[in-house]
Subunit: 494 residues, 2 copies
């Protein structure tokens, strides 16, 4: 195989970087920390967008678009928001270039300095609430349920393709409500939409929960999260939904007349997922041979490779396969028929394995005579020979089975790697092995900071559901011995 | 009607601005020249995107994503490109903010100055060709047929919603080819895709042609354009497709080994349409009552308004209408049933007229008893009473008819407003009346500049097709009397 990957066991991080590049997902650009998302990678993002957008619309949301640039002063309006987001930002200070005196290059025109600098949005709460305040006069104008598909920038120091890049693509939902209860319910509803998407489309099991105060979104009252476990035992925060209370409404003066005729600040949520999900997808399922894509997100679900000698044989095989291809397409399956004669079948097999195509079909001269076809699964790397009779229906069922199997495999892995510990000593030992750890914590930021400093582990969330018997029962903090209401989820994280 | 528009005859420009705001399409943001695209406006853009994206994919293109920010030095690589695009740009000079000494605001951190400034992309040829050069080694790597959906910025001095904004949304196709002929054919193919979209989806007739050298894209060998005529007699450039020759390949060193084993520079095209099309859509069809949307782009194709007294009557009417709604949806028609009791029917009628909903159905008590329904067309503002029998199929046909009628009306208008003139005196007189003028021109930039200065008219294009008898025959320049190969299309333009 020409495009060999570093094995995961040897260097997981290098395996990931290799895979991103060799499977044609993305590459570094000339701009520090910004990636080029290549067509194959982008087609996975398009599938994600399609599935998410449908879910947003089904839950009553509409799309809109707000400006890329935000006046600098907006960022300091919400006291906590500024701490979290007004730091590592791209700052626009000028609006014109001119040709230099030598006439061979462009320079920034010093006369075209902006009165107030503009920030490339790191997130859009501020500009959106500055807009919403004019849309909302009365409870009759509520709720507002908007989503935006956009690019954002955060000037990260260490970047990795998809996982952490200076510019990334995402969606950000921003909603406005009459009551605390309605906004709170919306934040939870969207977390559930994300969890449904992660598990049923990405085949990635997630733990739903609420963040500790330290890990909360800057400006939120509560941050809900879905946390996934990667194959190297590290957690990846895969989506967050924030109940913002009245914080942004107060910062931007967004008041409305409520049903009792009183002026009240608007209640808000925001929620987002990004191209980071492609990183999660890769790290959750893929192997040393390349990508393993769940059929629900695979740009190509089935590839068909004819194995032939000479044009005449290719023609015969192609004729035999034509009705199969037609039938698969009829069933809504995306099929690629690769009859190129410039590459050998072995090369093609390796290439489609690398690209994570869930099902590969191959037909040679003998198969053609026998009316059979070779069916290879990417997830299990197993092969079988099947009769052409009813093959399309068989493949449709197989794709559903692969989707289920990939999820189950990831779920089994998580089950094996979610442990409870009761002492800090044990915690320090177990955290080195990776995985999720459920442990008691006294609820203070001090203890949380101490644990992070000493073990690099963070509280991923306080889970909503129970994962291990008794994890919802009270206990004593593993560090301080102070009382704890329930176990919380720790891990080292991306 | 609460939301009255300035009539077109009184002030066309004000009518346009009124309509954009009152029909909830867009509004000014806090950032100079940047607009907020509101949900109703954005849903039109989504429909445009959907139709265009499908056409791009059908012609073999794939989507990808390239960085928002471009190193300043890239812009000066292509000699002509720098003149056109490296001027009015948003320039990122710093990457960090910090809290000021008073602790009450953020300021730019002077220590976080970039070594090389970054430009918010005004268009992406430079960053894309800097990427493509690494993708292309041999003729086997060609063609590359990529498109990008993105935001771009051009620091325009005078802005108008959709027509000219500092930030706008667009798609930009960037393709790489083995030969001159293939690239040239691609540029023309995409122009035809745009023309098909404009005429069959937007219902806007367009003139296809090639730009004069003066009006060419900075860095192109040839710029092809589609030009539409607005209701005020001004032209609107609605899409352009550029044959870039080897200019960008040379600027970025993109060479490949051709089929003869020789190193050769890659041939290129780029092509784009933007949210400007929403401006074209509004100005081509709408009237003093509001938007007129072609059914193929209307977010709501049919609105149904029950006219009722009391809940019991509403219930009866709703029951009668339920199968109609179901049948319309079955036929793929987007339907809104507006049974809100907070607004009166008259208010609703005006509101949906303003929003350009192509068909309005209304049912009152008498209609219900008679088994009839009132059908109102937005394009002609006519009403008729129809039997409920077969109403869904009738509406489906009606929508197709409305689509056709809107196009025909715009086409008739253009036919009435496309004239030939032979003398410059006549030209000066006719240009004041608006419309397209076909006239002879000597082909020089000097004459073109003189005409523009004296009349504010520009050469929109040298049309491919003939619009008036003899317009493809040679003649004499109306200004200088020098020979001219054929008539060219002039207009004042947006």
């Amino acid at each position: 195989m020409a495009k060999e990957l570093t094995p995961r066991a040897e260097n997981y991080s290098q395996w990931y970087n290799d895979l991103v590049v060799k499977a044609d997902l993305a590459e570094q650009s000339a701009v520090r920390g910004c990636m080029v998302i290549k067509p194959y990678g982008y087609s996975i993002w398009e599938k994600m967008q399609h599935e998410l957008d449908r879910r947003f619309k089904e839950t009553g949301h509409v799309n809109a678009y707000f400006p890329l640039l935000i006046p600098k002063s907006f960022l300091s309006r919400e006291a906590k928001h500024v701490e979290g987001f007004a730091k590592e930002c791209a700052v626009v200070t000028h609006y014109r270039l001119k040709v230099n005196d030598e006439g061979n290059a462009v320079v920034v025109d010093p006369e075209a300095k902006l009165e107030e600098e503009l920030i490339v949005r790191p997130t859009s709460e501020t500009i959106i609430w500055n807009t919403y305040k004019n849309w909302i006069k009365s409870w009759r104008d509520l709720p507002i349920l908007c989503n935006q598909w956009a690019n954002v920038m955060r000037w990260e120091m260490r970047t990795r393709p998809f996982l952490r890049t200076a510019e990334f693509l995402w969606q950000e939902g921003h909603t406005a409500h009459e009551t605390y209860e309605e906004a709170e319910a919306e934040a939870q509803r969207m977390l559930n939409v994300y969890a449904d998407f992660a598990e049923n489309v990405m085949a990635v099991p997630v733990v739903k929960g609420v963040k500790s105060e330290t890990e909360r979104f800057a400006g939120a009252v509560d941050t809900y999260t879905i946390e996934a476990l990667m194959q190297d035992g590290k957690a990846l925060q895969s989506g967050t939904s924030h109940f913002l209370g009245q914080n942004f409404a107060k910062a931007f003066g967004a008041q409305f007349q409520n049903r009792n005729g009183e002026l009240e600040y608007v209640w808000a949520t925001s929620w987002g997922v990004s191209t980071r999900l492609i990183g999660a997808l890769i790290m959750a399922h893929s192997d040393d041979n390349g990508l393993v894509l769940p059929p629900n997100l695979a740009p190509i679900q089935v590839v068909i490779v004819p194995i032939f000698k000479g044009e005449e044989q290719l023609k015969q095989i192609s004729e035999k396969l034509a009705p199969v291809i037609a039938e698969l397409k009829q069933l809504g399956i995306s099929v690629k028929y690769d009859d190129a004669d410039t590459k050998k079948p072995g090369w093609k097999f390796a290439e489609y394995e690398l690209k994570g195509v869930p099902v590969r079909l191959a037909m040679g001269a003998r198969d053609m005579e026998n009316g059979t076809i070779e069916v290879a699964r990417r997830d299990t790397l197993t092969k079988e020979t099947k009769s052409l009779d009813g093959i399309a229906t068989y493949i449709k069922d197989l794709l559903a089975d692969i989707q289920k199997n990939i999820f189950q495999k990831a779920l089994d892995y998580r089950k094996q790697n979610i442990k409870t510990v009761d002492t800090y000593e044990e915690f320090k030992k177990e955290i080195e092995k990776g995985g999720f750890i459920l442990a008691h914590w006294d609820g203070t930021a001090e203890t949380e900071a101490k644990i992070k400093e000493e073990t690099k582990a963070t509280i991923r969330c306080i889970p909503f559901d129970s994962y291990v018997d008794g994890d919802k029962e009270p206990g004593k903090c593993m560090v301080t011995g102070k009382p704890s209401k329930c176990r919380v989820l720790f891990a080292r994280a991306y």
